[in-house]
Subunit: 194 residues, 2 copies
């Protein structure tokens, strides 16, 4: 579940060019939100050629995921969710989210993004635009499910992840992942069946 | 849905005694968490007689709700949830939560408490203990539903409230409450049926 793809061939730019692009991306995403940020604008902020940005990051979604150190990018996670039987998508989604959030290293950047969004209007806009346009609407439209139903499913998993890892409610915090798959899978399946 | 009950009769203490008790309560709840805080300890912090604390606040739950300016107290909200047909409890819960969170005046203190819990370990402990012991376990035990299922229901509504009012995801943010009752009610009902 790597967040970036490197093209083969020569590597232009200094050793830290990638890091400079990511720093510029964080600044531009925070200021403009996800929708209005452009590869061109990020290149300008980083003082590099747009082609160099494209060399490191094929898409804006991938760049956002890398800039926020997210454990997964929409381009890798959406196909994982969509492949396999439609009647098992609820189970697949719950299992995927529990796997991504299980270890502190992959969970912490996600929680950091949520914390910012909870306390800062700019961060909330950035997270909202990314979640809806790059993630939820993509899945909903490919499965022909109304956006509201996907957001109900998101709400279920968002609340469970916060309850399990941030509030640490028991018995939720120490529940076995498979027990949660059994409990939550049918809820998500029902929303996706709409 | 008043959070406190005044006993009839004379009102001892200065005009701001109630406010002083609440300030002491906020300090003690933050330091000790909800479980370990006591009426006696709060009275000591406020430098008043414990009987005076009881005069203003009949229970620790009511005092917590008043101290955090919560729009509802467990003593008022749990009976509202439990009265009425068991097969409509999902619908009743969704409607109740959407009503309590609908106006900014009643929603903001709740969101403030969640924000603190998201960013501060002490506040997270306080919120966790209050939510589980004063709210979720009470409802679960009275309905003989496993604690994990109540927490799944909590997760659904917690995530929806944050998605609707903090992240402001569309179409969730402007969805009609009755549409949400129809969408989320069966999910909550299923957890409560367990």
């Amino acid at each position: 579940m790597s967040t970036t793809k490197r093209r083969p061939g020569r590597r232009p730019g200094s050793a830290d060019t990638r890091g400079e692009i990511l720093a510029a991306a964080r600044k531009v995403f925070a200021e403009k939100g996800f929708d209005k940020a452009t590869v061109r604008g990020i290149a300008r902020e980083a003082k590099v050629d747009p082609a160099l940005v494209h060399h490191y990051f094929e898409t804006k979604e991938g760049m956002f995921a890398a800039a926020m150190q997210l454990p997964v990018s929409p381009e890798t996670v959406i196909p994982l969710l969509l492949e396999g039987p439609r009647e098992e998508i609820g189970e697949r989604l719950v299992r995927l989210i529990l796997r991504v959030t299980a270890s502190p290293e992959t969970r912490e950047p996600l929680v950091a993004l949520i914390r910012s969004a909870m306390t800062n209007e700019q961060a909330a806009t950035m997270m909202r635009e990314f979640i809806t346009n790059a993630l939820l609407y993509q899945v909903a439209d490919q499965l022909k499910v109304p956006h509201l139903r996907i957001e109900a499913a998101f709400g279920q998993m968002f609340g469970v992840v916060l309850g399990r890892y941030v509030l640490k409610l028991e018995p939720l915090a120490s529940a076995d992942p498979e027990e949660l798959v059994e409990l939550l899978g049918p809820t998500i399946q029902r929303y996706f069946a709409g």
